[in-house]
Symmetry: C2
Subunit: 248 residues, 2 copies
């Protein structure tokens, strides 16, 4: 049996209905909501044939363990994480605009979710994570990702250094984000197949990961704090790469 997860709230539910209706297997709606947004959600659920249970607030609260549900909870089959073999196939197809996001031991589910949402928006080819010591696809991650956990290909690998070597062999440049880099992302040419590597919160990349990088880049910091939030830095870098490629 596939793993399952719950999505709650209007925004996340609308997103799931639009992006992965085929994964929705159950729905619960509050018996106290009577408004256009819920009506629209009920319409779509009916169209795609998902059974809806109208329940009271206490039942909804218990389904999501106190998270804010805004009167609607959906149950989805969990997205499947892809293997190293599938990453090889992706690399075989990689174009000059290939853009992978590598998260080296990311820990915080909010950061991971926000990175997936940003990765989707930036049209990345895939997100790569290590099997151990990285956060999983938990319900918190999926909620923060606002649907992107279902749309972005996520590859989970055992040995990141080996994977980066494989990517290099396929012509992908490994670009690491590092505060101590000598060049800013605005000073280097990123118009090539790229895997952007982001280190763990507070720790940065591991040495073995950093050693694999063809290039290190930093973001200019004009104030007094020394670093950006991980998902904010990821967003700025992914969008700058796309800008340099003339995609926008």
């Amino acid at each position: 049996m596939s793993a399952r997860r719950k999505v709650s709230g209007l925004h996340a539910s609308e997103s799931a209905l639009q992006n992965s209706p085929e994964k929705i297997i159950s729905a619960w709606v509050s018996d106290q909501r009577d408004d256009p947004k819920i009506a629209r959600i009920l319409d779509v659920l009916s169209q795609i044939g998902v059974p809806v249970q109208v329940v009271n607030r206490a039942r909804l609260d218990s389904l999501v363990e106190g998270r804010n549900h805004q009167g609607v909870v959906l149950e989805l089959i969990m997205p499947k994480e892809l293997s190293e073999g599938e990453l090889r196939s992706s690399l075989d197809r990689a174009s000059k605009n290939a853009l992978y996001l590598v998260l080296d031991h990311i820990q915080d589910p909010h950061n991971f979710g926000a990175c997936l949402r940003t990765a989707d928006a930036a049209g990345v080819t895939g997100v790569i994570l290590t099997k151990d010591q990285s956060v999983g696809l938990t319900p918190v991650v999926a909620k923060v990702a606002s649907g992107a956990a279902e749309t972005v290909p996520i590859y989970r690998v055992t040995n990141l250094a080996r994977t980066l070597d494989l990517m290099k062999e396929s012509g992908v440049w490994i670009v690491g984000a590092a505060g101590e880099a000598s060049s800013s992302a605005y000073q280097v040419d990123l118009d090539m197949p790229v895997a952007l590597v982001i280190g763990a919160e507070g720790k940065g990349m591991r040495r073995l990961t950093r050693d694999r990088c063809d290039l290190l880049v930093k973001l200019p910091m004009l104030g007094q704090v020394e670093s950006l939030n991980l998902s904010v830095a990821t967003g700025i870098l992914l969008y700058e790469i796309n800008r340099q490629r003339g995609i926008f």
Copy 2:
């Protein structure tokens, strides 16, 4: 008496020691920590003359209400929020590179904290918020901001529409972020004094705020989710404005 707040954890404490040592009035350290990071924090506290209490874990836990403290808690005098009068003075001094960030009814403390951290990194002139219906400078905000709550000028105004009019009179362009804008931020010239306006999570700008904008811009979305996390979008836009100005 000024309001006070607590900062906990290694990263936030180091940041407070570096950026606002003059605001630290008390410190508590675990009686079970004996490592270089804590030793360095104790050194600096001793240099700046802040009294340190060595306490047990239960006492530390109670000081921060269960948040993760990593063995160190500092108490700071809260940053002062600035008034509309002080914003007028700031506008009188505004250069052609003036860059204000306007948060229209922001609700989530994590987003607000991440926006402050990003605003500091992007060297903004000031952050502007409304007095009502926006999140305050709570301990969560200050912790996520990683020191930026003490370094970025924060103006709290009663009537945002009036403030935006005042800014326009001072030659500042009001640029609103809106998913439905016809131009992307990469297609317009943002090399002028700018107030970047970001709407509330999920709701966007209020109509009265939007009506004051000289320009609406969007970020290109290449995937299936329809929006970015608020603080990620703010970071991408602030960094793009600085890039266009040739500051980097």
